[in-house]
C-alpha cells in the first residue's frame, strides 16, 4: 500500500503521474505501460473534479493504492462536505459537442469499477483497474 497527499490545485495534480508510475513498477513493462496510461488519465479526471467541485477545507486530498495480482485499487479521499449524487451527473449529448462535462464519461471508460461513498467527513472514490495479463496457456503460466 502506498499513499500520496495531493495539494488541491491543478499544479498539485502533477504529482499523481509519477506516484502511479512507482506503483506499477513491479509489473512487466508490457502490462505496466497501458495500465499506467489508463490510471493516469482516470486519476487526473477524478482529481480535477475534486479541485473543481469538492468543498475541501484543508486544500488537499489523499490517494491510497492497493495492488493485487489481478487489479490495482486507488482510493481518493477528500474532506469535501458536499455529497455527490452520482446518478444525477449528466452524460454529454453525442450530437452536440460541448466544452466541459466529459470527465465522468472518460473515467467510466477507463476504470473496471468505480465506487462512491460519503463517510460523514470524506467523499471517497474507489477506482479499480483490472490488470490485463497477456494471454498465456496453463503450460507457461508462471503466476
Amino acid at each position: 500500500m502506498s499513499e500520496l497527499t495531493v495539494t488541491s490545485t491543478y499544479e498539485g495534480l502533477r504529482a499523481i503521474g509519477p506516484w502511479l508510475r512507482e506503483i506499477v513498477e513491479p509489473l512487466d513493462d508490457d502490462v505496466a505501460a497501458p495500465l499506467l496510461a489508463r490510471m493516469e488519465l482516470a486519476l487526473q479526471e477524478l482529481g480535477t473534479n475534486t479541485v473543481d467541485h469538492a468543498d475541501s477545507p484543508d486544500g488537499s486530498f489523499v490517494l491510497r493504492s492497493t495492488i493485487g495480482d489481478d487489479s490495482v485499487r486507488i482510493e481518493l479521499r477528500d474532506r469535501g462536505r458536499s455529497t455527490v449524487d452520482v446518478s444525477t451527473i449528466p452524460t454529454p449529448d453525442a450530437d452536440e459537442p460541448q466544452v466541459r462535462g466529459y470527465g465522468m464519461m472518460i473515467i467510466e471508460q477507463l476504470v473496471s469499477r468505480l465506487e462512491y461513498a460519503h463517510d460523514g467527513e470524506h467523499n471517497v472514490w474507489t477506482a479499480t483497474f483490472e490488470i490485463d495479463h497477456p494471454a498465456s496457456g496453463p503450460e507457461n503460466s508462471e503466476h
Binding site: Y10, E11, L13, R14, G17, A37, E40, L41, Q44, E45, T48, V51, P92, A94, P97, Q98, V99, R100, Y102, G103, M105, I106, Q109, L110
Partner: protein, 112 residues
C-alpha cells in the same frame, strides 16, 4: 470579355505544443487561442504531435477554440499526437470524429 484578377491573403496560424495539455495549462492555451481568433485569425492548426498527455480540460480549450473559429467561418484542425495515450481522450469523448485531424502540420496547411 473583361477579366480582372486580384489576390487575397489569408493566414493560417500554426500552434505547436509540447509537454502536458492538462487542467494546469488549459487556461493559458485557451487565452492564446482566443487572442488569435479575436485578432481575426480563425484558421488554426494545433500541432499536438509532441504532446505527452491530454485531459478533458486540455481538450476543452481546443473545443472552445474550434467552436468559435467555426462560427467565424474558420476551423481548428489538429495534428494527431504521436503518443497513442495522448490521443485517448479524443477517442473516449468521440472528438476524434468532430475535429479535422491530420498527420503533419504541412498537410493541414497545404490542404486547407
Amino acid at each position: 470579355m473583361d477579366i480582372t484578377t486580384s489576390t487575397h491573403n489569408v493566414d493560417i496560424v500554426v500552434v505547436a505544443m509540447t509537454g502536458r495539455l492538462d487542467a494546469l495549462e488549459s487556461a493559458q492555451v485557451r487565452a492564446l487561442l482566443t487572442e488569435h481568433i479575436e485578432a481575426g485569425s480563425h484558421r488554426i492548426v494545433i500541432d499536438l504531435s509532441a504532446v505527452e498527455f491530454v485531459d478533458s480540460a486540455g481538450l476543452a480549450a481546443l473545443v472552445q477554440a474550434m467552436k468559435r473559429s467555426r462560427s467565424a467561418g474558420g476551423d481548428v484542425r489538429l495534428v494527431r499526437p504521436t503518443d497513442a495515450n495522448a490521443y485517448r481522450v479524443f477517442e473516449l469523448t468521440k472528438f476524434d470524429q468532430v475535429f479535422d485531424i491530420g498527420d503533419t502540420a504541412e498537410d493541414l496547411v497545404s490542404g486547407w
